[in-house]
Symmetry: C2
Subunit: 288 residues, 2 copies
């Protein structure tokens, strides 16, 4: 059983900005639009020895999600303080995970609901060493749907993640660990909770985020590392045909860091451990 | 402010099946997959002078949603009892509305979370008499996506309704009241909380539900009434071009019943009040 510390962060003026609460007690009303409509946004963050990693990129993405959802302007300073506070008051561990949830609040009200959960977790090197078995599944949308139909909220990190959970059950039925979403017109997109990185010689590519996919905070940090090492990095439209010619593939995310992919559907992929392990460890050890 | 009565319905064995709780108190845990992932299902029901309308069709649809979501088998007898009990203990009113919510429960646990809310509501004849201004918005999926990609959960009534809320904000920006979802290949589908009925002479059509849209319980009741009156009814694939040739259009739902549509995008539609009003009142007065 995971131990979590919940923080209730009332964003209304004149109240204390947040407080630590007992996570085994109930803090959400049944009329909260978060539970009745999945009407809210979230971020998942990693904490390395007390430092919340990629904190500012996560907050920037949160603001983008809030804007796409027409949520009121967020008090980012309070949210930042809550994340840092929650990381500090948790019993120390090499790696903590955090989830920040913000909902539109109780139906008919004008106050957002917000909380932070913190728990010990993340991938151990042993888990990473097995490689991920991926299946490609249709996301149903064209790659340009975020531009043509912004009301579909593609690219916002919303609480409406039933499909992101459903595809994992489909993957398990097919004997796989995780899913690569593919647009209805054949472009590789992202995982339900990870970004894709593909290596082609000395160039590393990730799918372009204007396809309604999330700007990966860990993907960004990985590209910074790769640039420092002299590699070329870029965002592109990547067809599944092109992806099949990649030397190696990885999934990156806060908490799982740099995970090699061992299979894409029935095809076995080469895992370059000598390259993967140091990048994984550098991402794990980030202090910002 | 709407008064709601929440019912907590623990579905675990050996506990009392449900109990009435104070809706102003919090009954949902922050680790509930309903709030963190929109991972659950719901039904909205109307109650006419104490009788829950279309109760069995709602329960049948709930079971279909649960199956599409790979939820454990539901104890439908307990759920039925809870809905009827909640309708009974609410202060009487000509029309009550109910929402039944079932989530996958707390992450890592094996118990579903379930509750029923009951409140006084529904449409007054005055509201109906204005007609609905609709805008057509792309749903992003092909009409056959429920068959090709069942993991997208199209046709399940899930708690992941952020898009169903987002499109209403887009409609408001365009000066409209509600939305008609259109498939990416041009078929009329449904509203975010209503089914579409179109009249062509003596034939009434609704879009085929194998397009990943909900089987409308009020649409079904309406078609039963229309058949009794000697009209032909049917489910079809309806292109937007065909829809433009309809004599009249309606939105039907539990709580709003038989609502004429006054505008589809910029086009004004004919409202046949003489026909609409008695059907609306018959649906309102249903005792089953």
């Amino acid at each position: 059983m995971i131990t979590k510390i919940a923080l209730d962060v009332p964003l209304a003026e004149g109240t204390e900005p947040f407080r630590s609460v007992d996570p085994t007690q109930n803090h959400v009303n049944t009329m909260d639009l978060g539970i009745t409509r999945g009407d809210g946004i979230f971020e998942g963050l990693g904490v390395n020895h007390g430092t919340v990693q990629s904190l500012e990129p996560h907050l920037a993405r949160l603001v983008r999600s809030a804007k796409m959802m027409d949520l009121p302007e967020l008090d980012i300073d309070v949210i930042r303080d809550a994340l840092v506070y929650a990381a500090k008051v948790h019993p120390p561990a090499p790696l903590l995970m955090q989830k920040l949830v913000i909902t539109r609040g109780i139906e008919g009200g004008d106050t957002l609901t917000a909380f932070v959960q913190t728990w010990e977790g993340g991938n151990s090197p042993t888990e990473v060493s097995q490689g991920i078995r991926l299946v490609a599944l249709d996301r149903g949308f064209r790659h340009d749907v975020a531009e043509t139909s912004p009301w579909l909220l593609q690219g916002a990190k919303t609480l409406s993640y039933a499909v992101n959970k459903s595809v994992l059950r489909e993957a398990a039925r097919r004997g796989a660990d995780d899913v690569l979403f593919v647009s209805s017109d054949g472009y590789a997109l992202e995982g339900p909770s990870a970004s894709l990185i593909a290596r082609f010689g000395d160039t590393f590519l990730t799918p372009r985020t204007d396809q309604g996919i999330l700007a990966g905070t860990t993907q960004h940090a990985t590209f910074e590392l790769l640039k420092e090492k002299g590699f070329t990095v870029g965002e592109e439209l990547i067809t599944m045909d092109k992806l099949a010619t990649a030397d190696n593939l990885w999934y990156v995310s806060a908490g799982r860091f740099f995970n090699p992919i061992s299979h894409l559907d029935d095809r076995e992929l080469v895992i370059d451990w000598e390259f993967t392990t140091p990048i994984h460890e550098m991402l794990l050890a980030r202090t910002r």
